[in-house]
Subunit: 337 residues, 2 copies
């Protein structure tokens, strides 16, 4: 059905269209890529490709433009991920190495990725899922309020102010803190709920109401912050591109964390570091855009996802190379800290 030459034609169409942003015609194509055949032959192949739905023409007698299906074939079979230049790799390394804490790592990563790809970059904070508790701190504020601070091994810090149902003396808070840390230190966050389930019962009865309140806030924090936090950068790169769905929708999606999460997608458990490419209508919500994403994280724990979002007409090989490289470097950084 599709012989090698037809595939070569499709590849050429995608490449030309991506670089020029204009429908590509048979003549220009035969010239620019030395296909060794005449424009007429290319036209025949194009007709076949259009028949199969890989390309389309905006109007009769204009050049051809790849369809989502065409891009899909290109990404799957016709292109190779393009590695970064040595200079780019060095730049990544030095830029990321300067980060001082987790917030900084994430901020730098997202900016870096935006700059590298000239698209909108999106980075999800490492989820608490596979993190472990490093320390729980209770700071008495007044006799009826304490600040709960949870520190994880990924360097993440969550804090909440807890209103107690009754006044509690400081030394009892200190005791509770000691019990909590003894119980939770080093444990995975996902196992926290069961670990603390019977904890109130092991306390003196007068401490139980306060403990229950604090624990409920703690559990709430774990659930809420589960995988909600996500940041983006490079919105300015949207200014040039034109989206099928309109710029406004894209900007709105970027500020809706829920939508953004769905776009980044789930990390498939079997091959967590694989690149995910969703093209145009394959995306939920924003069907005029493409998303290139991957999981990242330290060691074999895939903790979160990052990627870029751009117009369907995107340089996939370069984008995929940048996403993959950044994911690797940031994973290294996280593993080292």
């Amino acid at each position: 059905m599709l012989d090698d030459r037809k595939l070569a034609v499709l590849r050429a169409i995608v490449e030309d269209y991506v670089s020029t942003n204009e429908p590509v015609g048979s003549k220009a194509l035969a010239e620019r890529h030395n296909l060794k055949v005449s424009p007429a032959t290319v036209r025949n192949d194009m007709a076949a490709l259009e028949e199969e739905g890989y390309i389309t023409q905006p109007h009769t007698s204009a050049g051809r433009v790849p369809t989502d299906k065409g891009y899909r074939l290109f990404v799957d079979r016709l292109s190779q991920v393009k590695p970064l230049s040595a200079a780019e790799r060095r730049a990544i390394e030095t830029f990321l190495a300067g980060a001082v804490d987790l917030d900084d790592v994430v901020t730098r990563t997202v900016r870096l990725l935006a700059q590298l790809t000239r698209q909108v970059a999106v980075v999800q904070y490492p989820t608490l899922n596979r993190s472990t508790v490093r320390h729980v701190e209770l700071v008495p504020l007044t006799d009826r309020r304490v600040m709960l601070v949870l520190i994880t091994n990924t360097g993440r810090v969550e804090q909440r102010v807890v209103e107690l149902p009754e006044a509690v003396e400081d030394h009892r808070i200190a005791n509770l803190r000691a019990v909590l840390n003894a119980c939770l230190d080093g444990c995975g966050l996902s196992s926290v709920p069961e670990l603390v389930a019977d904890l109130p019962e092991r306390l003196p009865i007068e401490d139980r109401p306060a403990a229950a309140t604090i624990l409920s806030v703690l559990l709430e924090t774990l659930v809420e912050r589960h995988d909600e936090k996500i940041v983006f950068a490079g919105a300015a790169n949207l200014a040039g591109a034109d989206f099928a769905t309109g710029l406004r929708d894209v900007l709105e999606a970027l500020e809706e964390h829920v939508v953004l999460m769905r776009l980044l997608g789930e990390t498939t458990s079997d091959t967590p570091s694989a690149l995910t490419v969703r093209i145009g209508s394959e995306n939920p919500y924003l069907r005029g855009t493409s998303v290139v994403a991957t999981g990242y994280g330290s060691g074999d724990n895939q903790l979160a996802r990052l990627g870029v979002l751009g117009p369907t007409r995107m340089d996939y090989p370069v984008t995929m190379g940048a996403v993959r490289a950044v994911a690797r470097y940031v994973s290294q950084i996280l593993a080292a800290s």
Copy 2:
């Protein structure tokens, strides 16, 4: 020079232009606002206003459009800040009241303001300047690394991992923590540097290298985070409007914290809660946009600034009302917590 009627004409021009986004002509103006005079008279007044530089015409024989100078006069003398409706006030109150921590307060505030004004909202985090230390926590990670956590009375938490020059036993860390807290608890952040200046000398000599390292990181944190953190929301509202300077520049400015800070401006120390309006060319950097901002914060401490950024053609009375109201409510919330 400018009698009452001319001012009324200017006001009418601004109002009409803001609502219709089309140059406003003498005839329509005389009809819509019952000025009791004929279009010809209005034309004479317009000629005078144009002579003075308050309005201009895009091309010969089109209607008139306010200049930056015209908007300035309108804001200063011809308009009144428009208070919010009762429903809006209730919505603000309930929305902000649900915030669980400082991050949440800021996030909710910026979103709220963006939604209310249909512009881009910008909120600076309360600076550490006038905050006080609530608690300093040192968590040993390994024998050569500790996590430094600084908690302020505004609910803000800063954390850093500190690499120690030599291995230090846990009980020494605990001792150092106790000393630090005894020294700093309740003190203003700005007084921290002098308070800790002689601290190493009061410690056993073997603890001094570690203490010095930790203190230098602590001081660094105070300086770096001084007033850097700033967030925005509502970029989608830019999609419709057109900017003299181009959408791209605006989006870029939003991601440059330094530029954003400059746009929000300084809180003038004498009247900190006054509304600042910068119109078009009055702005540094982004001269095609207007910024309405004000200081906010708890009590008489003006801690930070918030505001909105939009096209010069903006409904100033409504925007100013929303900014002022949100600043008041968020100040209340902060004071209460």
